[in-house]
């Protein structure tokens, strides 16, 4: 994954960048399977690696395929790099207090998760705990998610249909001016 991410930084061809993004997404899905999150892996493989790659390719078809070769001024490389290293160092310092990987006594496993694991089979009746939490215990989250997706769809439609109307509109204005000229 790290290699894929680095190659995305280096590449200039946007088509290849988008393809590497898809590979990166698929690799992360494999990692999710390894970490016992099979539902998340399904979603990531279909949505992250599938739909998002298709959307990106669609955008490339409407725009351009090559990234412009920038003139490499030194401050444009080193300033972002320094910012990233500083932020990364601060985050690594933050992890020193984090619970160890796979520790069953970590705080995250003490709060509501035991209840979901022990009682959801009686309260909801689904063998898959992720489903019962998603649809029942945290149903409002899912409602909020649906709202966000709906808003995004409305936004995309407004942005992309507005242009078509304008494209139709502009020629008619010119025609009107031509008519006026002729008159």
């Amino acid at each position: 994954m790290a290699v894929t991410a680095i190659s995305i930084v280096r590449m200039k061809n946007l088509f290849a960048v988008v393809m590497m993004g898809g590979i990166y997404s698929l690799l992360s899905a494999l990692i999710f399977v390894n970490l016992d999150a099979v539902d998340v892996a399904f979603t990531e493989a279909s949505v992250g690696a599938g739909i998002s790659t298709v959307l990106m390719l669609g955008t490339l078809a409407l725009t351009s395929r090559e990234e412009k070769q920038e003139k490499k001024s030194s401050h444009k490389i080193w300033l972002p790099l320094a910012v990233c290293i500083a932020t990364g160092a601060a985050l690594v310092y933050g992890t020193l207090d984090m619970p160890l990987y796979g520790d069953p006594n970590a705080p995250i496993h003490q709060h509501v998760a035991p209840r979901y694991l022990t009682e959801s089979i009686d309260e909801v009746g689904m063998p898959n705990v992720v489903t019962s939490v998603l649809a029942s215990y945290r149903g409002f989250d899912t409602l909020g998610e649906t709202t966000v997706v709906f808003t995004a769809v409305v936004g995309v439609l407004i942005l992309l249909t507005g242009r078509r109307r304008r494209e139709k509109h502009e020629p008619t204005l010119e025609e009107l001016e031509e008519q006026e000229d002729e008159v």
């Binding site: 994954m1 995305i8 992360s28 990692i31 970490l35 016992d36 999150a37 998002s52 725009t63 990987y101």
Partner: protein
């Protein structure tokens, strides 16, 4: 809780051979790669790819926190008693879908910008803005 046995734990954390914190460092590395792409590259599509990398690293962070040593996927079946934490899985399922929605919105903005300015490079857009002023 952490303060009481802080000394002994810190020694353990600083032992680079123990795999305890390795997952967090991978996440931080990926996150910084995505961040670097977003702030250093001028191409808008590439910025969005960087944003996706950043986003996926956060997903990996959550899922790896939910992992329990020796646990299986949280689906009830005979012979399984230890499960990984289902809560991060649910949150990340929601986050993936919201992420694709925001990516789609960003991409449609890129398409509109391209139609308005004829380019998707940040520098060129700034140059055209300066000319028009």
């Amino acid at each position: 809780m952490f303060l009481q046995d802080g000394g002994a734990k810190t020694v353990q954390y600083l032992d680079f051979l123990s795999p305890g914190l390795y997952n967090y460092w991978i996440v931080i590395f990926l996150m910084m790669v995505g961040f670097y792409i977003v702030i250093s590259r001028g191409n808008l599509v590439k910025k969005l790819v960087g944003l996706n990398i950043f986003q996926t690293s956060v997903f990996v962070l959550y899922i790896s926190m939910g992992k329990v040593e020796g646990g299986t996927a949280p689906i009830f079946g005979e012979g399984f008693n230890t499960f990984s934490n289902p809560l991060p899985h649910v949150l990340i399922l929601t986050a993936i879908v919201v992420g694709i929605a925001t990516t789609a919105l960003g991409l449609s903005l890129v398409v509109r910008i391209r139609e308005e300015y004829g380019t998707i490079e940040e520098e060129d857009i700034h140059a055209q803005e300066d000319e028009s002023l």
